[in-house]
Symmetry: C2
Subunit: 333 residues, 2 copies
DNA sequence: TTGTAAGCGTTATCAC
DNA sequence: GTGATAACGCTTACAA
C-alpha cells in the first residue's frame, strides 16, 4: 500500500526525475526511446502523478470546485453534466462537494473546497449568506448558478423565471382558461420571479391573478389544493411553482374526484425527470440545465484565464413542454 | 486575488511559520497571547490552511474520495449523507466525483480522485471493471457500495436482494395472490439476487415463478406490461425490479383500463422518493441507504487506521414499505 | 514555549 | 535532450 513517486519511476527507468516529469506532461522534447521506457516503468509501478504536489510546484491548478447545495435534487445532476463537459474539454477536473441543504454544512463544504486551492468555484444554488460568497470571491473566481448576486466579481447563470411563468400562463390562456391560480414557492429561491411573471402575464390579459401561498414540495401542493377546495374557490387551471408541487396538487385533485386535465389543468416548473414519467406526464416549464452548466464553466474558465473584471449575468430563456395535464376548460369542449 | 500563506500570517503576527502551524492545528503548547495574535492576523488576511500542502508535508490525508456512478439517482445522495455524517464526525472531509454512468468517464473520475492521494476511496455502484478496482485497492483502502467484489482487500456494503425479493413475495402471498410475475432488471446491478430471491420464494410456496425480462426504467416496465397484455397472460400481481420499472408498469396497466390495486397489485424496489409521492404511493422494498453510507465510511476509516487485512462484507436486510398499490386479488374481495 | 531547518512530490530554470 | 537545483506551502523533529 505504498504509492510510487516520480523518483521511483525515474530509478526504475534509469533516468532523472526531471525527465519523468517531462514525459508525464507530454513534452515533445524527449526521445522516443526514453519516453517509452519511462511510460513502461510508470505502468509497472502503477504510478500516477500527484495532483497537488504538481499544483503546488507549478503554482497553477487545473481543478474546479463545485458546490451542490442539494444532491437529492436531480436538477443539479444535469447542471454538473454540463460543467463536466466543458471543464474536461478544456483540461480541467472537478471536485464536487455538497451542502446538504443546510447553511452550516454548506459552509463546511465551501471551506473544504477552498482548502484545495482550486482554480475557481461554481456554486449551485447556494444558501450561505452573500458575505461568505463575497469572501470566497476575494480569493478566486466564483460563478453562481440558480442564485443571483450583486457582488460585482461573481458571475451568475439563471433562468428567466418571469418568462417561464409567462409561457405557462400564455399556454393556459390560449387553451381558453381565464381562472388560473398560481401555487407559489414562498421564500424559495426563484419563487419571486415566477410569481411576478405570473401576475404580469395575467394582468396583461386583463385577468385577475390568484396567488396561493405554497412551497416547493408535493405535500405543500396538496395542502394548497385542499385549501382552495374547502373555500369552494377552485379555478379551471393551476400553475405550480415547481413539478413536485404540481404532482401534489394533482394528487389532491384526484382525491377530490376531479379529473386532470378534463376538469382542471395543471402546469409545473422545472421539467424534472418526474414530469417526464408516463404516469405523471406533466406539462411544465423546462430550464436548459446542461446549458446552465456549460455557461457556468465557460464563464469561470474565462475568469480563470483573463482575470476579467466585468461580471457576466446569463439569463436563460426557459421553454414550455406540453404533455397531458393541460386541456381546454371543461365548459368549452 | 492573491491567497495568503502561512508565511504572510507569521510575518504579520511577528512570529515564525512553525508557530502559526501549531496554532492552526490547535496545539496546546502555545501561549495565549501569541495564539490570539496569530488568529487575529489570519482573520485579517483571510487566511485558511492549504489542505494539500499540509497533506504533502505531513504524509497523511484527512480526505476521503467518493465516486458516485450516477448523480441523477437520488439513491446515492442518501448514501453520501451517511458517509458524510461518519466522515465529518471523525475529522475527515469528502471529495466527490461522478462517473456519469459511463465506464470511460468513471475511469477518469477514479484517476482524478486518486491524484489527490486521499486516505481512502468509496465507490458507489461503480461500473468499471474489477481490475481497475483492484489497481486502486493496491494503493489505498477501497470500499464498494451496491456492488460486490471478490477482491480480498476491498470491503463491500450491499443489501440482501434475495431477502428483499422474498419480502415482496411474502407480502403478496399473504394478501392471497398466487399468480405473481417478476419484471426483472436483466443485467443490471443487483438484478440477479432479486430474481433469485423471487424464484426461491415462489417455489417455497409451491407457486410457479414467471420472470419477465425487463430493465431498470419506467419505459421498460411499461413495455413488459404491454407484452404480457398482448399475450393475454396477466398475473394478479407484479413485483418489479425497481421503483421506476414499477411506475412504468402501473402506467401501462392504467392505460389498458386496469386499476391498481383493485385489478392488479404492484410492488417496487428501492423506496425512492418517487415511491413516497402521494400520487404514486407505491408499495416497495426499502434499503437502508444512509446506513449503507455510515457502514461504508466506518469500514474505510478502520482500514485507514489499522491497515486491517480481512475484508468486511456487510449485507444489510431490507424492509417492506406497504403503501397503496397492493391489495388482495380482485376475485377475493 | 518558540524558532530553525529539512523534507513532502512536483515543476521550472538553467546549465550541460 | 537531459540533469542539477531551487522553489511551492506546509509539518515536524530538534534545538534553543
Amino acid at each position: 500500500m505504498v504509492r510510487p513517486t516520480m523518483e521511483d519511476v525515474a530509478l526504475r527507468a534509469g533516468v532523472s526525475r526531471a525527465l519523468v516529469s517531462l514525459v508525464m506532461r507530454g513534452s515533445p522534447k524527449v526521445s522516443e526511446q526514453r519516453r517509452s521506457a519511462v511510460l513502461k516503468a510508470a505502468e509497472e509501478l502503477g504510478y500516477s502523478p500527484h495532483a497537488m504536489a504538481r499544483s503546488l510546484a507549478s503554482r497553477t491548478s487545473t481543478v474546479l470546485g463545485v458546490m451542490v447545495s442539494d444532491l437529492h435534487n436531480s436538477f443539479f445532476a444535469e447542471v454538473v453534466d454540463g460543467i463536466d463537459e466543458v471543464a474536461h474539454q478544456q483540461g480541467f477536473e472537478l471536485i464536487i462537494n455538497t451542502g446538504g441543504r443546510s447553511p452550516a454544512r454548506e459552509r463546511r463544504a465551501l471551506e473544504s473546497l477552498l482548502s484545495f486551492r482550486p482554480a475557481g468555484l461554481i456554486l449551485l444554488s447556494p444558501v450561505v449568506p452573500a458575505t461568505s460568497i463575497g469572501k470566497a470571491a476575494d480569493q478566486l473566481p466564483v460563478v453562481l448558478v440558480a442564485r443571483s448576486s450583486r457582488i460585482s466579481t461573481v458571475d451568475t447563470v439563471n433562468d428567466d423565471g418571469e418568462v417561464g411563468a409567462r409561457l405557462a400562463v400564455e399556454h393556459l390562456v390560449s387553451l381558453g382558461h381565464s381562472r388560473i391560480a398560481h401555487l407559489d414557492g414562498g421564500e424559495g429561491s426563484q419563487a419571486g420571479p415566477r410569481r411576478r411573471g405570473y401576475v404580469a402575464a395575467m394582468e396583461s390579459h386583463g385577468l385577475a391573478p390568484q396567488v396561493v401561498t405554497s412551497e416547493y414540495t408535493d405535500v405543500a401542493g396538496a395542502r394548497a389544493i385542499r385549501r382552495l377546495l374547502a373555500e369552494d374557490d377552485l379555478p379551471t387551471a393551476i400553475f405550480s411553482c415547481n413539478d413536485f408541487n404540481a404532482v401534489g396538487a394533482i394528487s389532491a385533485l384526484e382525491d377530490a374526484g376531479l379529473r386532470v386535465p378534463e376538469d382542471i389543468s395543471v402546469v409545473g416548473y422545472d421539467n424534472t425527470s418526474l414530469a417526464a414519467l408516463r404516469h405523471v406526464s406533466l406539462t411544465t416549464v423546462d430550464q436548459p440545465r446542461a446549458e446552465f452548466g456549460r455557461l457556468a464553466a465557460s464563464a469561470l474558465l474565462h475568469r480563470v484565464r483573463d482575470d476579467r473584471a466585468e461580471p457576466v449575468r446569463h439569463l436563460l430563456t426557459p421553454s414550455l413542454v406540453v404533455r397531458t395535464t393541460t386541456a381546454p376548460p371543461g365548459g368549452l369542449r
